[in-house]
Amino acid sequence: MLKTMYDKIWGHHVVEDRGNGMALLYIDRHLVHEVTSPQAFDGLRAAGRKIHRPDSIIAVPDHNVPTKDRHLPNPDPMSTAQLTALEANVKEFGLEYIPMDDVRQGIVHVVGPEQGFTQPGVTLVCGDSHTSTHGAFGALAFGIGTSEVEHVLATQTLQLKKSKNMRVSVTGILSKGCTAKDVALAIIGAIGTGGGTAHVIEFAGPVIEALTMEGRMTLCNMSIEAGARAGLVAPDAKTFEYVKGRPYAPKGGQWDAAVAYWASLSSDDGAMFDKEIVIYGSEIAPQVTWGTSPEDVVPITGYVPQIKSFADPAKQEAVEKALAYMGLAEGQAMTDVKVDRVFIGSCTNSRIEDIREVAEVVKGRKVASSIIEALVVPGSGLVKYQAEEEGLDQILVEAGFEWREPGCSMCLAMNPDKAGAGEHVASTSNRNFVGRQGPGARTHLVSPAMAAAAAIAGHFVDVRDL
């Protein structure tokens, strides 16, 4: 029988078939951070259970680490309690831990690939929905809740129902100024935030093949915003090249065996998908969101939609609420929306390529005086180091950006990096939910280049015109 990549990876990991599409699935890799793990470790302790395979785990703090003044005591006692709990837990259970002062520290979804921990064909989980990022390598990677974190720690498995297969093909070529982020937003705009529910999405087609590994990570990162359980891209020469030589990568004779195995994972020609979507890559323009759901998105050349243009009454009501929250009017041109704050970072767009894109746009220019704050938060200490080697931090600082230490930062505002009520934020993160970047904050999701252009102009602009 012809199989999709998802069918193959799933099949390779079934420990026990439980019928009804349910299986006990083996988990190869587990990333742990401070927010969703303390209750899981407590559960283990309470039941007197051990961790099944400590060698399958890397723990790293990211969600509420400060991005500046790290030498000072953390002003937030609750954050400190979570960070201390993680440290105590990794010590007690003997796990590999990357502390805050280590150059490898960063957002879990940036760290995993950098360490070669993320590899094609593995099952990889983390108590965080954007675990879908790792699907860029052809890994079956998905977010889990805290009870499941405990289940994986204790048993190395999860009891799961197999999802359905969906393929999103992006044809043609991307026009200049368009990035993986624009592809991700355009797909979500087309299929909606529920478009991928109960499915695993395989991204395919010439545009996807042409993306760099960073770009593929950005795209797979946002598959959760399309409602999918996970995203996948078939591993190819670019993937192998990226993994090669990293600390966790297969070494010596095992490398060739691994590559041969990885190359066998792509979907068979003619394999059936339960749902197929085709997007024309050449029609994608830089995207910007106007509402409070990632599906509320238009091209930068577009306008805030009319409420009546939505057929579903429930959606009309949601749009009305969203526009009131965002302080936008129907029919307003997106380029008329003023920006108060800029955030470049998050597991969606904080890799070296993203920082390079920003530097290219802002080089020799200045952040508009009306901008309260423009932050660049690299995804990891290694990204930060690399950017500094290339002198990118200088370009950014000269333009008026702040250059910070790695972490999740204003993506979810659990640390001191927040936007104020009513402020419009050009953000390279993945969620524009109500209050996500601070109570009352108005998030607009964009690519790094678009965020950089907005910082310079003081309002949204088409980066292609700059």
Partner: protein, 201 residues
């Protein structure tokens, strides 16, 4: 875990689409290292003003729906983050069952682990239940029979058999899986040969 069989109660109608986990429990409240204490912050933007004052007669705290164990809501409920704090917070508000046209996958999975039943019904049936809830009618949910009934409506719903067994039996999933220890070891022995690079030390 307590066994789940039937729930009979009035229901809180909250028919909004795409309710995300940031609305259910905002990130700033995720800093606790415990499993409890999230209920008071659940649906914060709906229950409290930006200054922190309780909004008069909001559906979660008002007299009308006090004691409701059932929440009726819109499409794609629970989308967004994987935080299990969302079902913890909902459970603390007293809900044991959520009815909606559809749920986000991770959220629905987290509910099972926390003894909350998610019932998917077609939009028209959900709409009818919203009207019944607003009228203050009792709604009866029977997991064993997989039925929802109230006044003169009677609906059947689909539910994952494995999850049903877990909820009905009040099972500890980790304990249950550990009984498959031999199968897990056998799997590891096999893959140590096939993909040895995934094992260290």
């Amino acid at each position: 875990m307590e066994k789940f069989i039937k729930v009979s109660s009035i229901a809180t109608p909250f028919p909004r689409v795409n309710i995300d986990t940031d609305i259910i429990i905002p990130a700033k409240h995720l800093k606790s290292i415990k499993r409890t204490g999230f209920g008071e912050h659940a649906f914060e933007t709906i229950r409290f003003t930006a200054e922190g004052a309780r909004i008069e007669d909001n559906i979660f705290d008002g007299e009308k729906y006090k004691g409701a164990k059932i929440l009726i809501t819109g499409d794609n409920f629970g989308c967004g983050s994987s935080r299990e704090h969302a079902p913890w917070a909902i459970a603390e508000l007293g809900f044991r069952c959520i009815i909606a046209p559809s749920f986000a996958d991770i959220f629905a999975g987290n509910c099972v682990k926390n003894n909350i039943l998610t019932v998917e019904l077609p939009q028209e049936q959900v709409d009818a239940l919203v009207i019944a809830a607003e009228a203050g009618h009792q709604i009866h949910i029977d997991l064993n029979e997989q039925t929802v009934c109230c006044e003169n409506a009677f609906y059947e719903f689909e539910y994952n058999p494995t999850h049903k067994e877990m909820l009905l039996g009040g099972l500890d999933e980790v304990g249950q899986t550990l009984q498959s220890g031999a199968a897990i070891s056998a799997y590891e022995d096999k893959t140590k040969m096939m993909t040895p690079w995934l094992y260290r030390g």
